[in-house]
Subunit: 270 residues, 2 copies
C-alpha cells in the first residue's frame, strides 16, 4: 500500500490513524485530512450504490489535528441522478477537527468537452527546479518527505531572503513513492505547496480557516503542475487560489482557501 | 422593514417564509437563501455570546427551494477566541434544500491593514449603464425587481445576440428600495448577477452545485461594484468567481461557485 493510501485508510467503524509522517510543525497537514474526509464520503456513497467521484468539496477547519487515532463520521445528505452529497466530521476525543461537505458525480460524464480552460504555466523542466529544501525549519514539515516538489526558481526568491512580493508560486509536484495522482489525492495536492504568503517574506504558519475545491477532470499519470496565487491580503487574512494541471495539460482541480498570516509590517503595495 | 430584511427574517422556532418576490423561474434564488442561512448562523452564535460577522461560508445546494414555509436549523460547531463556526440546514417538508457552514469573527479586527488588494474594475457611471432588462424571460426573474443592477455595456453583448465569449461581466449593484449593503447582504449580492456563462451566449439557467464566499471588509454605504469571471468551462460545469468592491474602493467580498451550464455546441476556444 502506498504512503498516501495508508494515511487515508478508514478502518472498521470509521476510525483512522493520523500518522506523524504527514505533519507540519505540530499539526497534521490539512490537505491529507481533506483527502481522508473525501475518501470517507466516497466510501459512504459507494456503499449506497451512488457516485464516488468528487467534483466539489468544502472544508471548515475547527481545531488542529494531532497524530494518533481519529473518528471519521459520514452522513449522506442526498443521492441524486447526477449529483450526490455527503458530509464528514473528523474528530479526536471530544474535539471536532473539521467539517467537510463533498458532492460527487460521474466525472467522466462531467469532464468533456473542454469549452474553455486556463492554460498551464510555463515552467522550467523539473530537473531545472530546485527540490524543496531539507533541514532547518523544513525538518518539521514531514509532508515534504512524502512529496517530490520542484518549485519554479523564478518564484522561490523568498527562500534566499529575496521575496518577489507578487503573490504567485508555481511548481511541479508528485508523490515521492511513485504513486500516481487520482481524484482522491487532489484535495491533498491543492494544499501541499508552501503558503503563497511566503512570496511576501511572511515565512510563518498560515492556518486555513475554510477551504473549497473543485475536481474538473481525472488526472493522467505523471507530474502535476500547480500555480497558487493571492490577490487580497487584508487584516491578517488572505485567499489562496490554486490550480492543478496534469501531464496532458488538462485542468484537473482548482481551489480557494481563506487563511491567516502574520505579514511583515509594511504593506507590500500602496 | 426592508425587502431584504423581511426575506431573511427568521421566526420563532427556526421558521422562515420564502417569498415569491425572490424567485428565478420556479425556484427561490440561491443567494437570498445563503443570506438567510448566514443570518441564522449569526443569530445562533450571537445568542451564545460569540462572533456575528461572517468571514467565510460555503453552501451546498441539495434541492431547489419553492416559495412558502421553510425550516432553518442551526448547529454551533465551535466558539473560539478568534473564530466561531455554525452550520445551517434549510429544508422544506422532508427535503433538505441546502447545507451551509459559516465561520464568524470580529470583522473590524480582520479588515485592516490592507497589504494587497485587487483594484476595482473601470466602469462607466451607473447612469451610462443599462438597467437590467424587464419583460420576456426577465419577467420570471423576480429578484430583478429587488435590485438596481447596471451592467457595463461592454460586457452585455449577449443581451443583443453578440456574446463576447470572454467569460467576464462587470456591473454596479444595490438594493432597489435603498437599503444599504451590510455584511449579511453580501452572500446575496455575490450570486445576484446573471450567470457569467451568458457571455458565451448560453442564456439558460445555471444551477449552482456548491458556493463558497469570503467577507473581507464591512461595506460602506452606496453602490457596490462587481466583477464575475470564469476561466474553465468543462463538461457542462464552470466555476464563477465574483469580487465585490464598495464605494470606498475596498474589496468587501469574493466568491467561487461550481455550476452547471448547457453550452452552445462548439467550444469557444481551441
Amino acid at each position: 500500500m502506498t504512503e498516501f493510501d495508508a494515511a487515508t485508510a478508514i478502518g472498521e467503524g470509521g476510525t483512522a490513524e493520523l500518522s506523524d509522517g504527514w505533519v507540519i510543525g505540530e499539526a497534521v497537514n490539512g490537505g491529507i485530512l481533506m483527502s481522508l474526509a473525501t475518501r470517507a464520503a466516497a466510501e459512504a456513497l459507494g456503499a449506497a450504490g451512488s457516485h464516488t467521484d468528487p467534483v466539489a468539496f468544502s472544508t471548515t477547519f475547527l481545531a488542529a489535528a494531532q497524530p494518533g487515532p481519529a473518528r471519521v463520521e459520514s452522513q449522506i445528505l442526498r443521492t441524486g441522478r447526477s449529483f450526490s452529497t455527503a458530509e464528514v466530521t473528523i474528530s479526536q476525543g471530544e474535539t471536532a477537527t473539521l467539517r467537510h461537505t463533498a458532492t460527487f458525480a460521474d466525472l467522466d460524464a462531467n469532464s468533456e468537452p473542454v469549452h474553455l480552460q486556463e492554460a498551464p504555466p510555463e515552467l522550467p523542466d523539473p530537473e531545472s527546479c530546485a527540490p524543496a529544501a531539507r533541514g532547518g525549519f523544513a525538518e518539521k514539515i514531514r509532508i515534504l518527505d512524502r512529496l517530490d516538489m520542484r518549485i519554479d526558481p523564478a518564484t522561490v526568491g523568498w527562500a534566499v531572503g529575496q521575496p518577489a512580493n507578487d503573490g504567485e508560486m508555481r511548481a511541479w509536484i508528485r508523490f515521492a513513492d511513485g504513486r500516481e495522482p487520482d481524484v482522491l489525492s487532489l484535495p491533498f495536492f491543492l494544499d501541499a505547496l508552501p503558503p503563497v504568503t511566503f512570496t511576501f517574506g511572511a515565512l510563518g504558519w498560515a492556518p486555513t480557516i475554510a477551504f473549497s475545491g473543485h475536481v474538473r477532470s481525472r488526472p493522467a499519470p505523471g507530474w502535476l503542475r500547480m500555480r497558487i496565487t493571492t490577490r487580497n491580503v487584508i487584516g491578517g487574512l488572505f485567499e489562496e487560489d490554486a490550480v492543478i494541471w496534469d501531464s496532458r495539460d488538462r485542468v484537473v482541480a482548482q481551489s480557494r482557501q481563506l487563511a491567516g498570516v502574520r505579514m511583515p509590517s509594511a504593506p507590500v503595495s500602496p
